[in-house]
Subunit: 345 residues, 4 copies
């Protein structure tokens, strides 16, 4: 079998570990892995690279992806479908392993259903918000990086009445914020799934400081929103909001929250915004193991002819689900937030 | 309720995170956590420390244990049982949360069954070999440290015909060796669960180098044994073996293997023995989260009166099992080793 | 001798290492070290803690300061001088070791000259901009943290036409930006000592991308200013500028630069702002060694009666200079920036 | 000019940073850098690789060396000199930049003096024992790795009467042992430069524990020797000693010391032997800066025609010395050991 492997969407620690595992597994069984360059563009434009022992050697710990990535969607690009079908006629692949987020899983399902190419999907997001799998690779690394930052903020926050805000990734869900907040010992956590008003946060900080704590560390997911008792609700990350509220396009909710908290509490407030530092670089051991298991399982499914599926982690078992079932976003189990609250105040 | 918390046995990253979580959880619900100093000795000798907000603050990320540890077994120590019962009469605790390994779980069960003190156990081992739970805290940290070491060995191994041996913990099981071996990309892994002869390993290394690889990284669990085709089986960690085979008491299997491999392959061989570096220091974010969940769950069980149980992780759920069920050792699922083999050679 | 040790100003990795070294050195020679709580406030208000073997044990690697810090200036505070003199009459110290920045060195000189208390100063700033010493402790840690961030940004930047901006500390000087920029392989570095216009930066980025590089990493010191060809010069960190230009008070120059660059180049631009993460947490080995040498030397000077001096590193030698000579700011040697330029483009 | 760049001897973090800096510096000035494969072998056998923008891109943070290394000595290999001269006749290089240890510096001097090829040497050793330069690159990384290990040992050592031994690199000098010992807070340090008897060490440990300390951390350089009051002196690293004393060839002095200390003190003793973990992997920011400065300076010297010299760090200045002056070994300034002693006991 000749099996194309591609990565789509944003960077995520562990992509190369998935590629290596899938490729090595296929090679071990006598099959031929092919790297499709820059996501589905590589499929449409026959932009291939050979994946042999040498090319997948020494990449396990590297960030990034050796096959490149893009957001190319053959169903949206002009002639995208025609190009894919034409390539399949001239130089066919027996299957495609597609590593990407929820959107890529949806495209991948259509590639099998509508274009007839057997596919297996591998869920990829540092946000951990893909449904039907316990954890996605990259998440553990992002949480570790955010936790390291909280550790460092702890000592420097220990000065009178100072508030430290750490803005972490999480556009739609608070997984990173809550996990890192618990692992780092945050004093408050703001996430998209739960609305807190600025007034409530200010009051909590003030109560905490009145009880003798002279600093607070707040972890905020980039997708959290600032709400106000007046009923306003400021989604501050869109460019419209810049004009409307005077917040910057790129300054982020951390900055906006700092402005509001300083005004209300009078405490000196500082912001750390980790940004893409959470997406790059070497994966943790846990993510390398998970990515390796995902990659090997994807190859196993292809070799067993069980396509149209996404590999998934359930407990300690590597399993799979039909791609058709994968939709929506896995918001955080609020019991984790309840656990985090045990340590607030 | 007044609840004693104790840690027993060797060091393990995350002990303080468990203590903090259990204590904070109890405080939140109006109960009084007590730190029993140095394991069950603290129970027998009424050696208590107060666990309040202040004493469990700032310890989440610290290695070691703020309540101390020991291997004190009230059922073995002279007057041990009498002392415990006497203390319980004079100044009773309503329950005990005991954090320890398999042996401690066994003692803990007897403390409830025979001495009538309600108990909850929290499994503790970096080796991940406690049964009835998916993972134990401390394991992730040990694997990460070993993986970091493999990463560093990779560049320096890339010299002609050199073999690097990394000896990691794992007296009875190969969990750390296999996880770190997969995460670090080892070329061979030796574990207690599976016997390989020195001749087989030498041959595998030789084949690999003949195929053009000019270095090999071998991860070996401290409890693995050297076997020989002649039928010998050298357990090299006992002092008797020193005399018999000339290996040192403390040199470990890594050193022994190096001697044998150099002799057989002629390749320069170097050993790194991580030792207790794997047991100490700050836990990974994953271990802090797991330890926090264990500690909070233990407190929840105590408060719900569900004692005589060990907290356990099943999939993403924190649950519990009767202490009576906890026995034996959880050896590694050999499918992990099979996965590791995909990348050998 | 009874010698007070104090820390003043902001947090800096290595403070505890200095305190420990000075205290242990004094104890070894039979003297009595005293911790003055929260900077010079501890001297004025007789807020002392004992520094014995136990209290300085296990603090070498810890961020923060066990004696607390503040910006208390006895010459500015009401009755400050009177309080200090009164305390010295009632319960005199034989000398004070003051660990702080340029401003603290100035106060410290006056404490000896005007209040008659023998002093030794230890220079403290992560910014490395104290004159008369080669390096200050804390700087190496800040550079390492920033370099780690650049490493992670590198993989995730490798996508088409993306610009990553890392804002690091350095209010008046570009030491951290230039060192981390060289160590991390930045493609452009903006510092307070050298004005570049937004147009020049945009043009450099565009040229780079036209030559086939599809990403750029820019390190910018927080104190760098945005200049424009029109002759404007936007110091964007004051609140006045918020109103005038629409930039946020706390968003920082990184955000402002991102807005301007995206407008001019059309490339997707992302910002990471490390903030106080650079100030806290465990010091690097290099900073611990330097801090230890500073602390021991300060004690040696006190014991030798060579007071009124600041300890200093010259080459490999630990030496000292009169406090009166310490003034102004050590801007970066532009040869380092010239070296960095070798790798731009 | 066409300038060959080579690396010789063992691995050292920062080699790629030197290569990159020298190559980029030469390119910037219109010259042509060439990578000589596997040390002087590449010169003798015309085994060259092109060093252009692309090949030296993305290597700054990588361990190992992209041009390979060996111990090839043209003055020792058969026909070595003839081969070099023949290659120079057919396809001459204008100069060679040789990165290596003391031995390589000696060969490099002869290459210029006897073979007429202009050379510049760059000192390379993690041991920091090259004369005429303050620090060598790779040393800071080795010290950081050893210090991290001591940090982790600290928490796990805190159990009754336990001794932790960390064996670090340093065949002839104690630089790594002393620096890491001070940075990590060791309780005893054994180095090649200073003889301590096993009885003295045992007595010091015993005194310490009698004073209430219940653990000790000992850092020992691999080249330190075990001496005995009887006047014996056991150099335990040669194979002869294995037979004579029963110590293993590869077990190292750490193991030997553990055996002796356990016997004398009765305290449980554990050994960590870091081995080549100290030589590999990504360099610290400090080492990257130093390596970059060394590489750029080497290129500058070549371009200025100032050959026959070794680049050197003096204070904050990058300078150079004649290769003829570089000989012998820079043993540690014993004042550092005296400083370390402040914290013993």
């Amino acid at each position: 079998m000749r099996v194309g492997i591609l990565t789509a969407g944003g960077d995520c620690p562990g992509l190369n570990a998935v590629i290596r595992a899938a490729a090595r597994r296929l090679m071990t069984h006598g099959h031929e892995p092919i790297g499709l360059r820059r996501g589905y563009r590589g499929l449409a434009e026959h932009d291939w690279i050979e994946l042999d022992q040498r090319s997948v050697s020494g990449i396990l710990h590297l960030g990034g992806t050796i096959v490149g990535t893009s957001n190319y969607n053959p169903f949206r690009e002009e002639q995208g479908v025609e190009k894919v079908l034409s390539q399949q006629t001239q130089d066919p692949l027996d299957a495609v392993i597609a590593i990407g987020g929820e959107h890529t899983m949806m495209i991948t399902r259509r590639v099998q259903e509508e274009l007839g190419i057997p596919v297996v999907g591998v869920p990829k997001t540092i946000d951990n918000d893909v449904t039907h799998t316990d954890y996605t690779f990259g998440f553990d690394t992002a949480v570790q990086i955010a936790t390291d930052a909280i550790d460092r903020l702890h000592t420097t926050a220990q000065s009178h009445d100072r508030v430290m805000i750490l803005e972490v990734m999480g556009r739609n869900t608070g997984w990173i914020a809550v996990y890192a907040g618990i692992a780092g010992g945050a004093d408050a956590i703001l996430i998209p799934e739960l609305e807190l008003t600025v007034e409530e946060i200010s009051a909590a900080i003030a109560r905490r400081h009145e009880r003798g704590k002279d600093f607070s560390i707040i972890v905020v997911a980039e997708g959290a929103q600032l709400a106000f008792e007046s009923g306003d609700r400021r989604q501050i990350r869109t460019s419209d909001d810049v004009d409307q509220y005077g917040y910057p396009r790129l300054g982020g909710i951390g900055t906006a929250l700092a402005v509001e908290l300083e005004e209300r509490t009078g405490y000196e407030t500082r912001v750390t915004s980790l940004g893409h530092v959470q997406r790059g670089g070497t994966p943790t051991a846990t993510d390398r193991m998970l990515a390796t298991r995902y990659g090997a399982k994807a190859a196993d499914l292809v070799m067993a002819g069980e396509t149209g599926r996404m590999v998934a982690l359930h407990g300690t078992e590597m399993t799979s689900v039909p791609l058709g079932q994968v939709e929506g976003i896995k918001t955080i189990d609020l019991r984790y937030l309840e656990l985090a609250r045990t340590f607030f105040g």
